[in-house]
Structures are given as C-alpha cells and as structure tokens.
C-alpha cells in the first residue's frame, strides 16, 4: 500500500470575485521512503495541494472534494483533533520562509520541545535533551547553548535547519517541504538540501518537495509532478520526465533551464516562459495551457478538455499533443 494516496483532490477558494479553483482534481500517490517533486509556476496550486493534505487550508479556502489517504486514513475526512494527532507527528512540514515561520516571541527550545511533548509525551527534561540532539542532527553548532535563544538570533539558513529539526522531531513517515530553499541565500541552499537528503535516508521518510527549481528535484526525486493552473499536466519518474518530457509546458520549463551540468543547474528558475498563467477565477474552458501553447489551434484542445492519460507505463500527460505524438515542428511561432 502506498504511503499517501491522493485522489481527485479539489480545493476552492470562495472569494468576492468568485470561486478560485486553486486545486482542481489532483491525484497522485507516494510510496514509503520515496521522494516526490512537485514543480510548476508560481500560483499553480502547489502549496494549496499540500496544505489541503495537511488540513491547513485557510478560509475562504475549502477542500470540496477528493481524498488523501495516508496510511489507510483519509486525512480529508479526519476531524480536527485526529488530524492534529497526525500533523507534526506522522507528517512533518517545512515552509518556504524560515524568517517568518518561527514564532519570534518563543525560544527555539520551546518551539522544538512543544512538539516532542505533545506527540511523544516527553517531560520537560527529556524533551530538552532530545531537542539538543535534534539541533545537533541538523548541524547547529553549540546546540545546547543556543536552545534558549530566540529566533531573531538565528540566521535564515539556521532557522530553516531548526524548522527541519522540528519537522522530523517525531520521526514522521512523511515530510512535506514547500520550497524549502527558495527564500534562502544561494550559498546556504545546497547545505539545506543536502541535509534534507541525509535525513531522509536516515529516517526512511517519504518526502514531497515543492519547488520552482527543476534542478532541485532533478537528481534526487523519484517521481515528479508538473502542475499547471490547479491541475497535474504531467507525471512521471524523474528520469523519464527529464529524458522525454511530453507536455509542451514541461518542455518549456526544461528549456528555460540553463543547460549546465552539476551544481549550476540549481540556479535555474522557471521564469522565462512567455505569457502568464491563467486566471483561476475564470480558467480557459478546456486545456488550461492552450492560450500559451505553441501547438494549440491544430485540434480541438481549446474546446474539449484533454484527459490525463498514460502515454506509456508510468508516464502521464494532459495534452492533446504530447511530444511523442507530434510529427511536425510547431506551426505557429511563439
């Protein structure tokens, strides 16, 4: 059985202007100890997808449909208290901005130990001892002394390490990292990523990592999901996806990457695709990528929504003209 099985997840925001379909029928599954990468442009619904799984969507958002079965239990259906028992205990989560993700008025120690005491029933001393170990595990120097510091005395990279320490403190089965390095200085990004991989293998966690940065997931993720406008447009193993991208959007993403081998790849960002992502208040009626797609117009993809189909075993794509089915070069220029 998969560790996490997400099925047709839908999360809508009821705003004054109308209903924003931020996540619109997302399905995927994650096996134990595997790593899943979710990539896509800003605003395509990556964060909302994982927040929906965690039950952390804020009003006016609401999960309106679908399921997220984690170890046999549908998290979407869980009541508040049961969900609280799962969060931080069996699923750990790390956020994008370490500068704002820690409570500025509480010591690092407090913020670390409260999870331990809450979920593992430790007493104050046990929790403190464990907290020191955790800080050492995430390579914070002088861990014991720094336990009583407030977050403002920690640098950004250190704070993200603390966040990681908190997330893994209860030995979760699943770690969700929502753009863990985006807000960090380039010089510390690699360190944090390396730490994540190191811990993942030690603790045998399943990991979902969200990123703008294809490079981040290229070498490490097992599977990759590409999201566009609230939907999955392509899903495959990392190798297959990088080797033979099928969706025109994925192609564009990869083209936008500087083709440099090694470390340099990580600096590539998904920013240079022309056109803007659609307004989720009023998305294009059929294929949501159509307005930006170089191949749209050849068929009815602008009127009949394409399905997510398995183009070859383990490789899913939502497009009427995936690469492997395209004969000729694109007609229209970009």
């Amino acid at each position: 059985m998969a560790l996490l099985e997400v099925e047709d997840l839908r999360t809508y925001f009821k705003t004054r202007e109308g209903e924003v379909r931020a996540v619109d029928g997302v399905s995927f599954s994650l096996e134990h100890s595997k790593m899943l990468g979710i990539v896509g442009e800003s605003g395509c619904g990556k964060s909302v997808t994982v927040l929906s799984i965690m039950g952390l969507v804020q009003t006016p958002g609401r999960v309106v449909g679908g399921s997220a079965v984690f170890q046999g239990r549908d998290l979407v259906q869980l009541k508040g208290r049961e969900l609280e028992d799962v969060r931080g205990h069996e699923i750990g989560m790390i956020f994008q901005d370490p500068m704002t993700s820690l409570n500025p008025t509480l010591t690092i120690g407090t913020q670390l130990t409260e999870t331990l005491r809450r979920h593992l029933g430790m007493n104050k001393d046990q929790a403190r001892k464990r907290a020191v170990e955790l800080l050492e595990e995430v390579h914070i120097p002088n861990a014991a002394r720094r336990l009583d510091d407030y977050p403002h005395r920690y640098s950004g990279g250190m704070r993200q390490r603390v966040m990681i320490a908190i997330a893994i403190s209860c030995n979760p089965k699943l770690l969700i990292a929502d753009e863990p390095t985006t807000a960090l200085d380039v010089t510390v990004q690699a360190g944090v990523l390396d730490l994540l991989h190191e811990l993942r293998s030690i603790h045998e966690m399943g990991v979902i990592i969200i990123t703008h940065d294809m490079g981040v997931v290229a070498e490490t993720a097992d599977d990759i999901i590409v999201m566009y406008a609230g939907q999955i447009v392509e899903q495959a193993t990392a190798l297959d996806l990088f080797d033979r991208p099928e969706h025109p959007y994925t192609e564009a993403l990869l083209e936008a990457l500087p083709q440099v081998e090694g470390e340099g790849i990580r600096e590539g960002r998904l920013r240079s695709i022309s056109g803007r992502p659609p307004d989720l208040l009023d998305p294009p009626p059929a294929c949501r990528f159509a307005p930006r797609c170089a191949y749209a117009g050849q068929d009815d993809c602008a009127t009949v929504p394409p399905d997510l189909r398995e183009i070859r075993p383990g490789h899913w794509v939502r497009s009427s003209h995936p690469t492997s089915e395209r004969a000729a070069a694109p007609v229209g220029a970009r």
Binding site: E84, G88, D97, S101, R118
Partner: protein, 311 residues
Amino acid sequence: MLKFIIRRVAWTIPVILLVIFMTFLMMRQIKGNPFQVTERAVNEATQRTLDRKFHLDQPWYIQYAYYVKGVFTANLGPSLVQRDRDVNDVIKDHFPVSLKLGGLAMLWAVLVGIPLGIIAALKQNTKLDYAVMAVVNAGYALPNFLIATVLIYLFAVKWREHTPFPTNGWGGWETWVLPAAALGHAPMTFFARIVRGSMLETLQQDYIRTAKAKGLRWRRVVGLHVLRNSLIPAVTAAAPLLGFLITGSFIVEFVFGIPGIGRYFVNSVTARDYSVTMGITILLSMIIIFANLLVDILYGYLDPRTRDVRT
C-alpha cells in the same frame, strides 16, 4: 535590563523637574485669588497675611525654590484653600481610591475586553463576531458619564430591590462594580478592538501555520502562539491607559460621588489651590512616567527582539 531600568528611572528626575516648572508657571498664569471663595471680598489685612503665610508675596523664583525643596523633602505643603489639610494628606486620603478605581477599571477592561476581542477574532465574520463588534463599536462612542448615569439609573435606582449596588459612595465591593464598569468601558472596547485586530493579523502569520502543522492543540496555538503576539499591541497601550484611568477618572468620580484624587485635582484648579494642583500634577506625571517604564519592561518580555536592541 537592570541597567536599562536604572537609566530610565534616572531620566525621570529632569522630566519631573520640568513638569514642576511648567505647572508652576502655568498656575501663575491663570488669574484668580485662591483665598476668595465667594463674592465676599477678602479683607485687605487678611489677604496680606495669607500671601505672607504662603510665600505668595515673594518673587516667583523664590516660590519655586520653596516648592522644589518641598517636593524633594516629600512635603508638598499645605492646601491654600482647605486650610486644615496638607497636600500630603490629600494624596494619602484620595490617591489610593483613584488607584483602586483605575486598577479595577483596568481589570474590567482586560478581563472583558481581551476575551471579547479573542472571541470576535476566532469567530471572524460570523454573527457572533458582528454582534460583539457592534456592541463594542457602539459602546466606544458613548462618553463614560453617560454610561455611568445609565448604569446608576438601571442598577441602583430602577432595579435597586434586586441589585446590591448603591447609587454613589465608595466602600465595599458593591460600590466598586458600577464605577469600574463605567470607567473601564472605553478601554474595554479599546482592548476588544485592538486584540481582535492583532489576533486576525497574527492568525495569518506563517508561524501560526507552523504551529498548526506541528499538530499542537488548538488551545495551545491560540493561547500561546497567537495570544502572545496579539497582546503586544494591547500591552503597549495598556500601561499608559492605566495611567490615564488613574488620572482621568474625575468624571466618574463626580457622578458616583467617589472621593478620588481626580475630583480633587479638578476642584483644586477651579479653587486656585496651587499647592494641591501642583502636588497632584507631580504625582500623576510620575504615574504616567512609571506606566511608560512598565510598558517598556513588559514589552521587552513579550517581544524578545527588542531586548537585544537595547541591552
């Protein structure tokens, strides 16, 4: 921190000297004879005697010197109008009353206002929120003498058979409730609004999402993570407010017939009772200075970031 407190306390000395000086000058600017109470003219001989007795026949700087000396020897001098009382007596008798009234009003404001603000914020955009905020906003606009009058009419006159509250006076707990509520009302609504606002803002913060993602019980998320941060603006406002409540309660004191210092203060100005006016002014400015000091200290505890900046 200690160094910081000592430095702040030391700073109050020149501030108080300035307060004395300014009050002194201003009191001399207001015309009026402290010794003439009714239209009956004061005997010339009597006037001369009194001026001599209270040094009013001396140049102003001599009077000022007398006064400063008095302040620093904790003797604020005799009242010019209530001739058998000293300013020290007046303060000793009436300040504790105002302190208690202000403290109770503050307690009322905190104990009612903060929970109301929290409830409204947690139930944002529900009927409960609208109801609470409607009451709070309507109440904010009402001046406290009006509230006092309505409270007295309802609880002490109309329903007097069913409530223990007297119309006026100051004694047991039953005499405290209505005045504290009347005086505490405005700060109560103030707390409710400020706490609601900052709660809503805090609830949106990333670290609250973190706290939730950690699986903390909702009680702890709100009670520790949200509240601690939301209370910073409330605390910042609270201490000067306490000063204001102690010093600004004279209307409520008038309406409820409470022998507090506020009433005395106002009366002393109309009576030109210089020594009483100045004595109370100095006392009240000290309270406000102290209240601000308290805010800074409290603020430091609530928001650790500021601590590093200053020490």
